[in-house]
Amino acid sequence: MSDGITKVTSHISPNEQLIFERSQQGRVGYRLPALDVEESPVDDLLPREFQRDDDLEGVPEVSEVDVIRHFVRMSSWNYSIDLGMYPLGSCTMKYNSRLNERVARIAEFANVHPLTEVQDAQGALQVIYELEQHLAEITGLPGVSLQPAAGAHGEMTGIMIIRAFLDARDGAAASGRRTMLIPDSAHGTNPASAHLSGFSVKTIRSTSEGLTDLDHLRELCSHGDVAGLMLTNPNTLGLFERNIKQICKIVHDAGGLVYMDGANMNALVGIARPGDMGVDVIHLNLHKTFSTPHGGGGPGSGPCCCTKELEPFLPVPRIVKTDWTVGEPTFKLEYDRPKSIGRVKAFFGNYGMMLRALAYILTHGNDGLREATEAAVLNARYIANGLTSDYDKPFNSPPMHEVVFTDKRQSRKGVHTLDIAKRLIDYGFHPMTIYFPLIVQGAMLIEPTESVGRQELDQFIAAMRSIANEALEDPELVRNAPHSTRIGRLDEAAAARKPVLRWKAKPDEE
């Protein structure tokens, strides 16, 4: 193993079966208070045929300490932000403050029922209202809904708003506008969300510079069928679309609206505002830019922010401040929004994430938000600098908060992006995002975020360089990586061919 590996060593790691394989008849890990009301025969309360008859066969029976050990052991198999830099491009894996976790657990918030009468939940509504205000200021887009549960959900919401707006504006004629323009570099959720909203997708080429091809855009806009454009900015190559104003003008002139995918807002907060660029509607990822934890795949929160003009189309209910004279402000729910696209989720969205995001905004303060953006971009630039000598950088303009490299040089030796990623694991780092965006062959998209210091950035650069070196001198070593993990590369093809998606008792166990 290369002695360039400084971040990790190998150590024992606990094994752990599936809980179902640990289960033992009769073990229990819970205790409830004894039933304190007169008990009626179940059959008197519920017809037999409505009752479960499988006695929950197969559901595990384990003790509390079994459960604790089960999850503590499994947890030790995970990489996490708290173990180090997590440079997944486009994912903004920044530090998740413990303070925000604590805020989300304050009993007066954690125990409020979503259908509580508003006068008894004013604090809960105030949090939503204040967060909406701050996000409006940060994006420059005054209409905000926190109902969407994640980025893709926010996209769907935003696109449906565009559709509702066009229908209201053009009436029947709107049926002629069902084309959504999406750059070839876009994240897969963009076309999927457009499709969900009944649009057909046309793809815009990117230039060799990695920016939207204006001529192609003009051409696509020349047929009168364009409902809008979905643009990520900075785009998924980590480059700021410097023609954004012109882009918006072209789309607007063609009668369409501009949707911005805000997944990369970590490059802009406090620096520039989509609203000032001509963007009509955007989604944010509170679980990226605003540091709410990713939780191994969610929960997220994908607020949708739009112009005053589009505000009437936002999902219901809206949280509005009632005019009040003395004391605390009071808030109420407004449902009577005839133009609204309707509800995209029960209740108010992923509320717990809103508490955390508001705490993030308040603890950073306006200066802190800007400084975080500066640090995030600085770190990405630093990495860009450190790796250009060893890796192919397809676009030479300086990156914003993330930078893309390719495996071009290494592939000559048969070492590909996947191999480099897996080898990074041996060096103790979580790999970057790979093979995205699709337009870059063998893409490696690196986003360090602001939550990493120079020491670790240097370690990362050294690791990547050492791997580049290995790719030349010992390609096999890289191709077979990782070598130091508890399991090796898994056969994903076989897994997909005959998928086993749940545990089943082996005949003898039944």
């Binding site: 039933l35 179940v42 309360l45 995970n78 029922h113 980025g151 897969g188 795949g297 992923n350 998606l501």
Partner: protein, 437 residues
């Protein structure tokens, strides 16, 4: 570091942004707060949630059940809550194996064959189920009963409005509170799916087996939504009743109310539809040495590969909440889930009996119940419950007029294992007192 990359000032970092787009002023958001100040601020706002500390009988899609202490301890472990979606299996087995267990538990509880890694919540899961039903049947008509949670129906409507699906809502039976025979009749050869909820919004258990026969007779799918997942501990599983797609809100399994989210959507179906499922799936896999591991699989269904042809646009789901549900279910275990469900049934029955015996109060629906039921009081339910809250400090229920304007005096009461007999008795006495004026 700036020097190291040949820059003079932080401004230089943004020189690719046109001058006229740069924000020339500080953001108009507050200056930084210290931990102490922040906590005071939130605690102050929290005190404005009068309801949070009261005994509560609110259900209607979000339930107060006991959460074993270890649930929060486990989901607070850095290794779980600060990890991303498990794209790199070699260093994500902790997350992957727990999702595999989650999928298995969902199958066991719903009586289905395959389940995904989670959806945003029950309402969006139902909407995705409807879209999936259209995909598998290639039919465009969807029939739902009005006893499905009104907000769920709203979400379904939003999702299907541009999908060329027409959604027909058939009224429930005002006597039983269950879905009317009319529902079964409405199914025809163009029907993609019959959509019901059980226990339904009024707490009444639907006759799923009958509805399944009706749907299948016409080649339609039966889509069942469950908002009170605890009922699965006691009620015949939708799968056993013949459901083709089962979705549920998993909040009852160890997830705090938290003003409506984050919760977790459960999504389960038949093996034959596995490749039509929205969202992520975790499957078993082996490495060269034959070690078992788990991976994200069947990704070809998903948006990052299929783009607009994906089975859904969902990407980030509710991983950590699914973990909470998994810890909950494994801690309570087979017997604990049964006991919690049994106590819900018994306590709700006790409360229903006592309330029904108050004069001026009656239970309008005759259908069988789990832990929720509708009460009709002697006066406007909003006023009645507001008094109960103010004077008795009890959150007594949900006024139905919010959703059904023709039911001014009706309200929905939910009782779970955490409502002590004293609380129930206080509710009953409270109701009679505040109504006798």
């Amino acid at each position: 570091m700036l020097e190291a990359i040949g820059l003079k000032s932080a401004e230089d970092l943004f020189d690719s942004i046109p001058q006229d787009l740069l924000l020339k002023r500080p953001l108009n958001t507050p200056a930084a707060l210290s931990e102490i100040e922040l906590l005071n601020r939130f605690e102050k706002m929290g005190r404005r949630n009068a309801a949070a500390r009261r005994p509560s009988f609110l259900g209607g899609g979000a339930y107060s059940h006991y959460i074993p202490t270890i649930v929060d301890h486990i989901i607070s472990r850095s290794e779980f809550f600060t990890a991303y979606t498990p794209y790199q299996p070699e260093i994500s087995q902790g997350t992957l194996q727990t999702i595999f267990e989650f999928q298995t538990l969902v199958c066991q509880l719903t009586g289905m064959e395959v389940a995904n890694a989670s959806m945003y919540d029950g309402s969006t899961a139902l909407a995705e189920a409807v879209l999936m039903a259209e995909r598998v049947t290639r039919r465009s008509k969807v029939i739902a009963t009005s006893s499905v949670h009104p907000q769920y129906l709203e979400v379904v409507h939003t999702y299907v409005q541009h999908a060329g699906i027409d959604l027909e809502v058939v009224p429930f039976d005002a006597r039983t509170g269950q879905s009317a025979a009319a529902l079964a009749k409405a199914v025809d050869d163009h029907t993609a799916a019959l959509v019901v909820q059980s226990p339904n919004f009024f707490g009444c258990v639907e006759d799923l087996s009958a509805l399944s026969d009706a749907a299948h007779a016409k080649g339609a799918l039966l889509v069942v939504a469950v908002t009170e997942a605890m009922s699965l501990g006691l009620l015949k599983s939708p799968g056993a009743c013949g459901a083709d797609i089962v979705v549920a809100e998993g909040q009852s399994f160890g997830v705090p109310l938290s003003f409506g989210g984050p919760y977790v959507g459960l999504f389960a179906t038949r093996d034959k539809y596995a490749r039509q499922i929205p969202g992520r799936l975790v499957g078993e896999a082996y490495d060269k040495k034959g070690h078992r591991g788990f991976v994200l699989t069947l990704a070809t269904r998903e948006q990052h590969i299929r783009r607009e042809k994906a089975t859904s646009n969902i990407c980030t789901n509710e991983g950590l909440i699914a973990l909470a549900a998994t810890v909950y279910l494994e801690t309570m275990g087979r017997r604990g889930i049964q006991e919690a469900a049994h106590q819900c049934l018994q306590k709700a029955a006790y409360a229903a009996r006592r309330i029904a015996s108050l004069d001026g109060f009656l239970l309008p629906f005759s259908g069988p119940r789990f832990n929720e039921f509708v009460v009709r009081g002697p006066l406007d339910a909003g006023a009645l419950l507001a008094r109960l809250g103010k004077e008795k400090g009890i959150e007594g229920g949900i006024p139905l007029w919010r959703f059904f304007t023709d039911r001014p005096n009706d309200f929905l009461v939910c009782v779970t294992e955490i409502n002590s007999r004293d609380e129930i008795d206080a509710l009953v006495e409270g109701l009679s007192e505040v109504s006798n004026r």
